[in-house]
Amino acid sequence: MSVLRTDSITMQFGGLTAVKEFSLELNKGEIIALIGPNGAGKTTAFNMITGVYKPTKGNVIFNDKNITGLKPDQITVLGVARTFQNIRLFKDLSVLDNVLIANHLRIKSNFMEAILKLPRYRREEKAMFEKSMNLLEKVGLADLKDEKSSSLPYGKQRRLEIARALATDPAVLLLDEPAAGMNPKETDDLTVFIKEIRDEFNLTIFMIEHHMQVVMGISNRIYVLDYGVTIAQGTPYEIQNNQRVIEAYLGVEENA
């Protein structure tokens, strides 16, 4: 059963077609990877799904609902959360605040109730706090909750960003290069971690990743983009043996 689907979405910036007729299908519980050389349009595809860009053509369907052209915050409320390629934490705020902010979208109390600290707001605040602490414990950052988020080491910032995305109660989680800049040990941990959160939070995960060990290790299926065109899709084994993928990554052998 497909959770998230795109019907040949196309993104044009003036004369440049960044992504051309990209069709994706995410089934519940899958881990799907999107790979491709630099500038292939992977992040653009992400931005179209999450509402940062409105696709020039095509539709994005989430749980049978057309979400094309909705704003990023509306799409997050529906249940599609994301992380960013270049980490975008709220740098000056504490680790705990970063996660608490991601709970705000489900708040029912209005701002007057919040200022006056009425019972309903207190209950919500308490629930938010407990949920956030739980998440921080899961990602192993509970004891760092009062640290400034920008003071964390790189690997932990990545984890915090994932925890923050999880706090929005997503059904689909989009990870933009989660392993970028990580050392081998951190990468191994991350691979395990992604599987763990998938099982624990019933997620469907769609990720952009360059690190082949991670991609081949955990993805059910892989999509390959090159110059905005989907050149291949299939299981890790199929992709590894696909001639066009090898050409896109390594170039074509010249026959003299």
Partner: protein
Amino acid sequence: MKRRNLILTAVFLLLSVIFLVYADNNFDSYIVRILNLCAIYTVLGLSMNLINGFTGLFSLGHAGFMAVGAYATAILTMSIETKQANFFLAPLISPLDKIVLPFLISLIIAGLIAVIVAYGIGAPALRLKGDYLAIATLGFAEIIRVVFTNTQRVTNGALGLKGIPSTTNLWWSFGIALFTVIVMISLINSSYGRAFKAIREDEIAAESMGINLFKHKVLSFMIGAFFAGVGGGLLGSLLGTIDPLMFRFFMTFNILLIIVLGGMGSISGTIISAFVITIATEWLRFLDEPIKLGFLTTPALPGLRMVVFSALLMVVVLFFRHGLMGTRELTWDMIFGFFNRKKPLTKGGTK
């Protein structure tokens, strides 16, 4: 620890009340007036800091909201006779000329009118960002001033309003300042306050965390405008006379100076800075008058004070970019930490 802080806060408030009682009875009217101004600028500084410091919206429309608040309060509180005396060119329009309301209710209504105006301005202008927002809001504030200059039958135009009942005293101004501080602390530490800060830190990330940018920006703008309106009302009542020229960009600049020096995003910084700037403005008044330097006497230079403040602002922007407090808050723990930190140094054999 928590208990100690609570007791200290209670003691501090009690001492402030004792000081105010003493000031009310013993200080001359000049000093009382400066103290009133300190409290009013605290209200205005906090309201602008919510918009500019906590939500990160570079808005320069504060004088406009103050003008709305000041005029609304003045017109609602003035007695019927005073109104007739003021509006001798053209009479005040019909329902307003007979309405006389108590001060507190007038202040609240003034704040609410400022909120409505803020929505009218914010809904289109808050789609802009950064410098563009600053220019748009600045323009709107000027429009409000120009409209007030020309609506003879509502605001008495360029003649301004005189004989506004001087209800503002130390209790009113400090009471409302305390109320504003409490509301701001409560708001900033709530989920909505965190959402505001998230917008300040990173709009794209905030949006992808499901925060409706427009809704929260307008909310922050409207809450800020409410307190700006109330502050304007207090100021009008303290001065007794208002006219459109009072609410030029210069007024916004004064408040901007307070929040930049105190720290964008710090409540305690704004309070300290409001007091320091207001007192310094009065204290530096001698600079505007002829100065005797031994045998040399400089001519009177009105406005030299502001040159000093401008230089001060430049120094702050160049060397202390985050102002006095940055985004930190002055807490009892911080004060104690400061004293405790010094001890090991003297013991530890540095000397």
